[in-house]
Symmetry: C2
C-alpha cells in the first residue's frame, strides 16, 4: 500500500550535514565569525518596485470590486505576456504568452514535470547535478533500484574539467528525459549555442525531451551564451524550459516561477501543452495574485534596474571570488555567468576534507561538491550570495591558509 | 514514453460547459442580468488584518536585515503554531505544530497526497464528489481503465437522501484510501461524531488511511458537528487532514492552506509524517512569507472578527436560499453548515435540464449536480458566495418560475 520507491528513496544529507558540522563548530567556538558561502539563497532586498506592486495589489483585496478570487490556472495574462515579451521575444526566442505556465517555484515544476511520462522512460542527468531531478524520478520508481550509491537505470553525463563541465550528448545510448541546467548549478558552467544545438539535435533525432532549467539565466553576460533553449532552432519541438524570479529578482522567499511548454512539442502524438494544462488544472490552483503583480513589476523600468543592480552586486562578488582564488593558484570554474564558483580542492583533498579545513581554519562555509554526485568529489561550491565585504574577508582568510 | 493514464484521463467539462452555455445565452441576450450562483469562489474582500499583515511583511523585504529568502519547507513556525492552537487545540483536537505542513492550496495537497501510496491501492470516494480526488489517482493509473463513465477499480460510496448524503463505511469491501469531505462539497452535508467515528473504526480495523478534506469547516455552527477528524478518538492513527484559508478567510486568490500528518500515522511500518516531509522537501519550496504572515493574521483578534463577519454574511445567504427554496416546495439539503445548497430538480428533470431552465427563465447560474458524479444526477448546487441582494433577487426569480 505504501509507495515503496518513495519510502526507499535515499535521504540527502548534504545540507543537513553541512548545518550539523557548522553548528557543532560554532558551539565549540562561540566567538568564531563564520562566513556562509555554502547556501544558494539570495541575500539582497527585493526590488522596491516589486514591494510597491505587491502592496498595491494587497490594497485591491480590501474592496469587493477589485478583490481577486481564484485566478486563471495558468497564471494571469499580464504576467505571462510580460515574460514572453521580455525574457523570450527580446532575445529572439519564439515563445508566446499562452505557452507559459506561472507556478510557485522552478523546484516544484522541475519535480512535477516527470508526471507526464511513463515509468519506463530512461532519465539522463549531468553529474554533478541538482538532486531534485533525480529524487523526483526515484520517488516514482522510474530509476530502478538504488544500490552502492547508484541508481539502476539512471544515465549520468560526467562533467569534468576535460569537457569544461558540459557533457556532450551520449553516443549510441538511449535517453528519453534529459535534464539540463545552464548556467549550471553547482558548477556554474554556461553552455554555448553549439553545445545546446547538439542536445537539441540528439533529442529531435531520438524523440527525447529536454527539460531545461534556466533558473540562473539572469547571470549570463553578453550575447554569446543563449539565455533560453528556445534561442536554438528546433528546441520548440523537443524542450520544456523552467524559469524563475528566485535568483533574477530575489524571490526565493516570495515564490514565483514559470514553465514553458511549446504548442509544437508532442510525445507519441500527445501535445504536452494540453497534458501540462490538465495537470496544473487538476493538481494546482495558481500563484497568489499579489505575488504575480510583484513579479510583473520585475519588468517595469524601475524594477528591471533594481533587479539588475542586485545581480551586478552578486556578479562583483563572484568575480572577486574567482580572481582571488585563481590568484592563490586554485583551479576555479563558473562564476562568470553564474553566482557559483566551482573550486578544485587542493592536494587531492576530498570535498568534505576541504570543507572541514575551510570551516575550521578560515571559518568559511562552502558546499562539498560530492553532495551533487560522484563527479563532484574533489570540488567545493562557493556562492556569491553574500555581502561584498564578507566575500573579500573570506578570500583573505583562504589566502592566509597557504 | 508518455504517461498513458494521464493522457487518457477523461476531460472534465463541467465548468467549461457551464461557462459555454452561460456565455452563449449572454451573447444572445446581452441585456440579461445573470446572477452567478454556480461558482465555489468567495466574493467578499480579504480581512483588513490580513492585508495589513501582508503589507507589513512586504515592507520587511525592502531591507537586507529583515529580508526573507527560502523559508522552512514545512512553513514558518508562527503560522503552524497559530493553526495548532486555534484550529485544533481550541477544539480539543490533539495536533501539534510540527504535524502541520503549510502549502499553497488544499487542492494541491489533496491531489499530491496519493503520491505516498502505491498503485495497487483501492481508492474510495463519495458520489457525488470533488473531482480532484479521482483525477489525481486516475492520472497515475491507480483506478484501472475508464469505460462507460466508470473507473475500473474505484469504489464509490453513493450519497443519497436516504443516507442524508453521508455514506456509512462499506461492509465486507476493501478500500485503502478513503477520501472524505465534511462539510461536503457539493452536497453541504456535515458528518456527526458518530458518523466519523464509524469511518475511523473502519480505517483502523482495515489498515486504511482517511484523507479528510476540512476546507469548509469554518461554516460549521454550534458544537455538535466536529470541525476536525482529530476530534474523533483514534483518528491520529489513520487520518490525514486538509485545511484551508480559502473559504474561511477569502484566500482563494491569496493561496494558503495546510495538511496535518500526525506522527502516529504509519502504513506498513512507514511513518507518513517522515514520508510527507521528504515529499515536500523534494517537490515544493514553501508558501510566500508575506502570504504566511497574512494567514497568521486570520487568528488575530481583528482578523478573526473580520473573517467571522464574512462567514456570517455567506451563512445568511445560505439560509436565505434554503428558506426560499423550501418555501417553494423544493427538497433542499446542505446550506446549514456549508455555503452550498443541494437542490433536487423538480419534475424529474436532469441536472442540465434544470440548469437550462434556471439560466434561460430566471437568469440564474447553478452547477449541475451530475458533474460531480452519477449520484448527483437530478440535483443542482447553489452557492452562497454572492451578495445578499443578488441572493434574494435570484430566489425571487426562481419563485416566479412556478
Amino acid at each position: 500500500m505504501i509507495n515503496k520507491s518513495a519510502a526507499a528513496l535515499p535521504k540527502s544529507y548534504l545540507f543537513s550535514e553541512v548545518g550539523r558540522r557548522v553548528g557543532e563548530y560554532q558551539k565549540e567556538n562561540p566567538s568564531a565569525n563564520i562566513i556562509r558561502m555554502g547556501i544558494g539563497d539570495v541575500t539582497l532586498p527585493l526590488p522596491k518596485a516589486c514591494v510597491d506592486a505587491m502592496k498595491a495589489a494587497a490594497d485591491e483585496q480590501l474592496c469587493a470590486a477589485t478583490f481577486r478570487g481564484y485566478g486563471p490556472d495558468q497564471g494571469y495574462a499580464f504576467l505571462r505576456e510580460a515574460i514572453a515579451d521580455n525574457d523570450y521575444k527580446a532575445f529572439g526566442a519564439d515563445v508566446s504568452a499562452d505557452e507559459i505556465f506561472i507556478s510557485d517555484g522552478a523546484k516544484s515544476d522541475c519535480a512535477n514535470i516527470q508526471e507526464m511520462f511513463d515509468n519506463d522512460c530512461i532519465v539522463g542527468v549531468s553529474d554533478p547535478v541538482y538532486p531534485v531531478y533525480i529524487d523526483s524520478n526515484g520517488w516514482n520508481g522510474r530509476l530502478g533500484k538504488f544500490a552502492d550509491g547508484k541508481w539502476e537505470t539512471l544515465v549520468t553525463f560526467p562533467c569534468t574539467p576535460e569537457n569544461g563541465f558540459i557533457a556532450a550528448p551520449p553516443v549510441g545510448k538511449r535517453v528519453d528525459l534529459i535534464y539540463l541546467c545552464f548556467p549550471n548549478n553547482p558548477t556554474g558552467a554556461a553552455a554555448t549555442r553549439a553545445q545546446l544545438a547538439a542536445w537539441v539535435d540528439y533529442a529531435k533525432t531520438r524523440g527525447a525531451v529536454i527539460l531545461f532549467d534556466a533558473a540562473y539565466r539572469a547571470f549570463i553576460r553578453g550575447d554569446e551564451i543563449p539565455r533560453s533553449i528556445y534561442e536554438i532552432e528546433g528546441a520548440r519541438d523537443c524542450a520544456i524550459e523552467f524559469g524563475s524570479f528566485s535568483k533574477s529578482a530575489g524571490f526565493t522567499g516570495t515564490r514565483c516561477s514559470w514553465t514553458v511548454v511549446p504548442h509544437s512539442l508532442t510525445v507519441e502524438g500527445e501535445p504536452l501543452h494540453a497534458l501540462w494544462t490538465r495537470r496544473q488544472a487538476t493538481k494546482f490552483n495558481g500563484v497568489p495574485y499579489v505575488i504575480q503583480r510583484a513579479a510583473e513589476a520585475v519588468y517595469s523600468k524601475e524594477g528591471a534596474e533594481q533587479a539588475a543592480a542586485n545581480i551586478e552586486y552578486y556578479r562583483k562578488n563572484a568575480a572577486a571570488i574567482m580572481d582571488a582564488l585563481r590568484g592563490m593558484g586554485y583551479p576555479v570554474w563558473g562564476a562568470e555567468h553564474s553566482p557559483y564558483a566551482w573550486v578544485k580542492c587542493p592536494q587531492g583533498l576530498t570535498s568534505w576534507e576541504f570543507f572541514d579545513i575551510l570551516l575550521k581554519r578560515a571559518n568559511v562555509v562552502c558546499t562539498p561538491g560530492s553532495g551533487f554526485g560522484s563527479c563532484g568529489e574533489g570540488y567545493v561550491r562557493l556562492s556569491a550570495f553574500n555581502t561584498y565585504e564578507n566575500t573579500l574577508e573570506a578570500m583573505g582568510r583562504i589566502a592566509a591558509l597557504r
